[in-house]
Symmetry: C2
Subunit: 363 residues, 2 copies
């Protein structure tokens, strides 16, 4: 990896959420960014927002970043490789095996192509949701392959670093298997769970708590994009869902005969395995840390939460996380504040002195 920053010029193809966000971040660093999109109105919008200039004849980009839907990624990458014979070309699609395979089948010059995947999607899409800081602190997978040299690929790693992301190198196969596990299969599972609510009575949904909200939040994702991702990574997702179904079958069999010998143990193991699995997910700051949580009662009116956080700030205590609990029908909120364990007792006593109602130590 070189020490310099990307100097550009950089060409961005596709001015959706990711393309526009990358363009904005590069523009903020003074890089010459040229933009292209099949939709003239989408392109004009991105230019209006200051994401760069329209591509022009004679452009000679050092790097081309293809930010188009997975289905058309390989075709566009192949076109860019041919149109700009001196450029390194990368893409940001959520799948990495199929585009590379398709490029090789198309006879493209993959010695100048390296796929990448910034893990920074949002539930919303389009240039309108773009932001220069989208990649800050997020993993950015760089999917190396044998036909490209280490030196050539360095520019993509530099792009990720310039945008504040954390470059992680892995093969396209490893990438696809990993995102199937942590992103694609969970999307299917969450969508299928949410689909069960389609015909729910109002009496049932009125009982919904934060658990249901959390487990189904990603089920509001865009069908069009996900059709492409699921198809392109079908083999890896299917493998996980097959194993998941085996576990589900066992759970159903146990619930079919809850009084059978061993059913308690089977159910305890089911929930216990989930405990173990969820503990594998790294927390904030890239590592699994345990925080102390205290719950503070906050009136649901302007300024109340701010006042609480101001007082916490005055104490010099850093919040590691903050969750607001929804109370259907209530004009009151509960703020669950995570802090380092060492800070907990001082925080509780100081806040109580200031008149806040704390619940952790029994208000």
């Amino acid at each position: 990896m070189t020490d310099r920053r990307l100097a550009g010029p950089v060409r961005i193809v596709g001015t959706g959420l990711l393309g526009t966000s990358i363009a904005l971040a590069l523009r903020a660093r003074g890089v010459d960014v040229s933009l292209a999109d099949v939709s003239p109105s989408s392109l004009a919008l991105a230019i209006d927002y200051g994401a760069g200039r329209a591509a022009a004849d004679g452009d000679n980009p050092e790097l081309v970043v293809v930010c188009v839907p997975p289905d058309v990624t390989a075709r566009i990458v192949a076109h860019e490789l041919e149109a700009f014979p001196n450029a390194l070309v990368t893409d940001v699609a959520s799948v990495k095996v199929e585009p590379l395979r398709e490029l090789i089948a198309l006879g493209a010059d993959v010695s100048r192509y390296i796929g990448s995947h910034p893990m920074a999607g949002r539930e919303r899409s389009g240039a309108i949701s773009a932001r220069a800081d989208l990649f800050n602190g997020r993993p950015w997978v760089i999917a190396g392959h044998d036909a490209i040299s280490y030196g050539r690929a360095a520019a993509v790693e530099q792009l990720a670093l310039d945008l504040g992301a954390l470059p992680i190198e892995m093969t396209a196969e490893d990438h696809d298997r990993n995102v199937a596990l942590v992103s694609h299969a969970p999307q299917v599972i969450s969508s299928l769970l949410a689909a069960r609510l389609t015909d729910a009575t109002d009496a049932a949904t009125a009982l919904a708590g934060q658990g249901l909200r959390d487990t189904t939040r990603i089920a509001s994702s865009d069908p069009e994009l996900w059709v492409q991702i699921l198809r392109a990574n079908a083999p890896a997702i299917r493998d996980i869902l097959h194993a998941y179904r085996d576990d589900l079958d066992r759970a159903i069999a146990t619930l079919d005969a809850p009084d059978a010998t061993g059913s308690r143990r089977a159910l305890a193991e089911l929930i216990g395995a989930g405990n173990v699995g969820v503990a594998r997910i790294p927390g904030k700051h890239g590592q699994a840390k345990h925080f102390s949580r205290i719950v503070v009662l906050v009136d649901d009116k302007p300024g109340e939460l701010a006042r609480l956080l101001t007082e916490i700030g005055e104490l010099g205590i850093n919040m590691e996380d903050l969750r607001l609990e929804h109370s259907p029908g209530a004009q009151i909120g509960l703020a669950e504040i995570s802090v380092l364990p060492a800070a907990e007792s001082r925080l509780v006593s100081e806040l109580e002195q200031r008149g806040w109602k704390i619940s952790e130590a029994l208000a």
Copy 2:
């Protein structure tokens, strides 16, 4: 329903999270609360916290609230009905059909029993996590049945109201079917998903985003409690999981042959059905509302988020929700703030004038 408040005396059996929380809330209203628990140390802890006094010979409670695990609920309720022949007895177990059925089988006087279920669990348990405001704004199901008169049951509705909860009447059967859908089946589905992570590589879990964290959060729940809930409500949960498995089978079949005719449509319908389902969940304040969301970049240091919220408060704009996005490895956070759509443009321009970096309208 009567207009008066519960005057007590009230007896609480079981000083775990729910029992202690109910006791604390009643004590705060000046009610005479007597406490009982099979564990002397658990009882002593609750008394230390001010949740009430130890039960004594001669107690004559108006209301007995049984707050013990589902497995032993019916047996304890039957015992209380016998020991206090003038008292109304309720329980707070997460299942309602089985305890009632068991009570009838035991020959208990169910004309003085009505089951209830405050929807206010937490991921943590025990008196140590109890709080008087636990039920504030939460639904509290009251499961009526034919053997108890409307007038008799009113005291339980009054209990819920006194504790700030929202009483919702439904039959035990409806309750069990509804919570199977919005709570019990989602628990199984989330636990099974998290279990897939048990053998995940570090490279895979390093790519985990907020979506995986949200879908698996409840998978850290207590196995012992959930074994009892899942067994007691097995038939209703099983029905939902059977339908869920049918959908899953269809998804797997589609992914087994992603190039087959109709696969795009099948996948679009899968994600689309999830969109429809998740929209059925009521939002804050008990109704499905759509809010505008803006994203603000916040330095990860004490006081920064407070400063932001203070300035929003000064503008007189009420935050409907606040989400912090985790950035693994980064010392920076993204605050996603939900406001009523009418407030959005003013909020964005005012915050930008104050130097905040906003992402919604492209900073």
